[in-house]
C-alpha cells in the first residue's frame, strides 16, 4: 500500500461525508440542501453536519425537488457553492427543467456571466429490491447533455477525491453516488485532494481484453476478472470514474494493446454510455485495429421488484464472465 500514513479505512458513504465536511470547513460558501439533510441525510452522508455548521448551511427542505435544484442554482449565481442532495436519483426527474434547461445551460446561454457552481448528488442504481422507481441508472443521459460534468465513482477514495473536485468546480457536477456500494470500504487520506475529472483508474492489468466500467458494477467486474484470471485470461480493467469528461485515451491505448473491448454497465445497454465508448474507440482506432468490441448492460425493461426477476435483468459477475468470453471467442453476431 502506497497510501500515506494518514490514511483511514472508510466506507464509501463515509468517504463522501468526510469530503463534504472538509470542504465545508475550508470554504464558508459551501452549504448543503435537501430533504432530511439536517437529520444526517437518508444514508448518513451528512451526519453531524447540522451541529457543525448550523441550519443556514445544512438546510432540510420540503419535498420540492424542482426548488431544491433551482434554489441551489440561484444560490450559486450569487456566489455560494451549494451541494444539492437529491436523496435518490429517480427523484431528479421532478427537477429536470431546473437541471437540464437551467443549470446545464445558464453559463453558456448568458455568455459566461453565470457560474452555476453546484454539485448535484444523486445516489443511483439498484439497491435492496427497490423496484422500478428507485433503481434507475441514467448517467448516460448526462454525458449527452452539454454543460455538465458527470462523475460516477466506485471506491471510497475516488468518491472523496471527486467530491472535493466537484465542490471546487465552477461548473455544475452531476455526482452519481453508487448507493449499492455505500457500505464498501477502502483507504481514504485524512486530507483529501481533488481528483481531476477525466482520468480513468487502472484497476487490473492484462493483455487479453479491455474491460471498461464505472460506478456500482465495479466489484462485479473485479469478481469476473478473478474468475477469468483463474482460467488464464488477463483483463485490463478500467474504471472511467467520470463519464464527462472521460478518458478516451486510456481506453484507446488499452484496446490498441488488447485488441478487444468490452464495456459493462448496470444501466440499460440500449443507448447506454457503453455505446459511446465503443463508437468512440472504433472511431479513434479504426475497426481494423479492433478484433471485437461489445457491451454488456441491462435489457431494456424497468427494474422489477421480485428478487429472481431483478436477478434476470441485473448485470452480474457470471454474465460479465460470459460476455468477456464471447468477446474473446466470437467476434461476430453475439445474439
Amino acid at each position: 500500500m502506497d497510501a500515506p500514513v494518514t490514511t483511514e479505512t472508510l466506507t464509501l458513504v463515509e468517504a463522501g461525508r468526510r469530503a463534504a465536511l472538509q470542504e465545508m470547513r475550508r470554504d464558508p460558501r459551501v452549504w448543503v440542501l435537501g430533504e432530511d439533510v439536517a437529520r444526517g441525510g437518508l444514508f448518513g452522508q451528512y451526519r453531524g453536519f447540522l451541529d457543525a455548521f448550523g441550519p443556514d448551511r445544512v438546510v432540510s427542505t420540503p419535498i420540492s425537488e424542482s426548488t431544491i435544484m433551482g434554489a441551489g442554482l440561484g444560490a450559486a449565481l450569487v456566489g455560494t457553492r451549494p451541494i444539492i442532495e437529491m436523496r435518490i436519483f429517480d427523484f431528479v426527474m421532478c427537477a429536470m427543467d431546473e437541471l437540464v434547461n437551467q443549470i446545464a445551460k445558464i453559463r453558456y446561454m448568458f455568455g459566461g456571466q453565470a457560474k452555476p457552481a453546484v454539485v448535484v448528488r444523486m445516489p443511483h442504481g439498484i439497491w435492496r429490491n427497490s423496484a422500478a422507481q428507485h433503481s434507475q441508472t441514467l448517467e448516460s443521459w448526462f454525458a449527452h447533455l452539454p454543460g455538465v460534468v458527470v462523475a460516477a465513482p466506485s471506491t471510497p477514495a475516488d468518491t472523496a477525491g471527486l467530491l472535493v473536485a466537484a465542490i471546487r468546480s465552477d461548473d455544475p457536477v452531476l455526482f452519481f453516488d453508487p448507493k449499492n456500494l455505500f457500505g464498501v470500504t477502502g483507504p481514504v487520506p485524512a486530507e483529501i485532494d481533488p481528483l481531476p475529472f477525466g482520468r480513468a483508474r487502472e484497476v487490473r492489468n492484462g493483455n487479453d481484453l479491455t474491460l471498461v466500467a464505472w460506478s456500482a458494477i465495479l466489484p462485479d467486474c473485479e469478481t469476473a476478472c478473478d474468475a477469468l484470471a483463474a482460467e488464464g485470461i488477463g483483463v485490463d480493467l478500467i474504471d472511467l470514474r467520470t463519464l464527462w469528461p472521460w478518458d478516451e485515451e486510456a481506453v484507446a491505448a488499452s484496446v490498441a494493446r488488447t485488441g478487444r473491448l468490452l464495456v459493462v454497465h448496470e444501466a440499460v445497454q440500449a443507448g447506454g454510455f457503453g455505446a459511446e465508448v465503443v463508437a468512440r474507440t472504433i472511431e479513434r482506432l479504426g475497426p481494423a485495429s479492433v478484433k471485437a468490441a461489445r457491451r454488456l448492460g441491462a435489457p431494456r425493461v424497468p427494474v422489477p421488484f421480485s428478487p429472481p426477476l431483478e436477478e434476470v435483468v441485473k448485470v452480474t459477475a457470471p454474465k460479465i464472465v460470459a460476455a468477456a468470453k464471447a468477446t474473446l471467442g466470437a467476434p461476430a453476431a453475439p445474439r
Binding site: R128, A132, Q133, S306, V313
Partner: protein, 331 residues
Amino acid sequence: MADTAPTGHNTRRWLDLYRTMVRIRAFEETALAAHAAGQMPGPLHVSIGQEAVAAGVCLNLRADDRITSNHRGHGHAIAKGAGIAGMMEELFGRAGGHCGGKGGSMHIADFSVGMLGANGVVAGGIPIAVGAAQGLRLLGSDAIVACFFGDGAINRGPFLEGLNWAALYRLPVLFVCEDNGVAAFTRAGEVTAGAGAVARAEAIGVPAESVDGNDAAAVDAAAGRLVASVRRGDGPHLLHLRTFRLLGHTSTDKAAWRPEQEVAEARTRDPIARLRARLIEAGAADATLDAIAAEARAEMAAARDAALAAAWPDPATAWTDVLDTPAPEAA
C-alpha cells in the same frame, strides 16, 4: 369533532369500518414481522395508526370508483377491496402478486377493484387521479376518483397543478390529504408554510374541510358528504385528515428522533381503539369485536403462509409487460 351519536345504522357502518381497519392493521403487522424476519424484500412503509383514513374514505366509494395512492398505500388498497392474497404475494415478490411480483409494496395496484396504484414518487398520484377523472367523464361514467397523498405532497408542484386542473374542469375528484404530521424524518410544520392543505386548496378553488383522521366515524361522515357532492358534479373537494404515524418512516426506521412521550400520547388516540370504544358504547359486544380482529389476524397469517409457499415468478416474465413491440434483446 364530537363523536356522532350511535344508531343502529351507524353501528353497522362502524362494524364495517372496524373490520376494514383491523384487517389493514393485521396485514401490516404481519408484513412487518415477515420483513423483520428477513423474509420480505424491498422497503416497506406501513400506515399503522392511520387506518381510519383509508377505511373511512373507501367505505363511501363504489366498486367502479377509482383511487390513486402513495408509497404508504396498503390501507388504501385493502379498503378499496384489493385481494389480500394478491397483495401479500406482491409484497413477497411472488408470481401470484397483483403485479406478478414486479411492483412490491410501493407499487401495489389492483385495477380489478379500481385501485390504480400506489406510487413511489411523492405526489405522483395526483396528476394521474385528475386525468383518470377526466377520462371517466369523457367515457360518460359517473364514477369518481379518490386521490390519497400525505402532508409532504402538498409542497410539491403537482399538488398546485392538479388541484387547479380539477377545479378548472370541475372534475369528479376527492383529494384526500392524509396528514400524519411528518414526512420521512422531518415534521410537516418545519417544511410547510401558511395554514396548510385546506387553505391552499380553497385558494385554488377547491372546497376543503379538515377532520380528525383518527376518528373513523367522522372520516366516514365527512367522506360520505364530499363523495356525494363530487359525484353530483359539484367539482373536486379536498378532505384533510389529521392522523399520526405510530411507527417509523419505513419498517427499518425506528423514528428515534421523536420524543417517546409524543408517540405514547398518540397511542392513546389509536383509531382502532377509539372506534372499538365507540362500538362498545353503542352496544357491540367485546366478543364480536375480538372475533373480527382474530379473524383478520388469521386471514393475514394464512395469506402470509400461502404467499411464502407460493411460486416465484417465472424468470421469463422479466421480459413481459413492457412493450408490445419486442425489444431486440428480448426477442
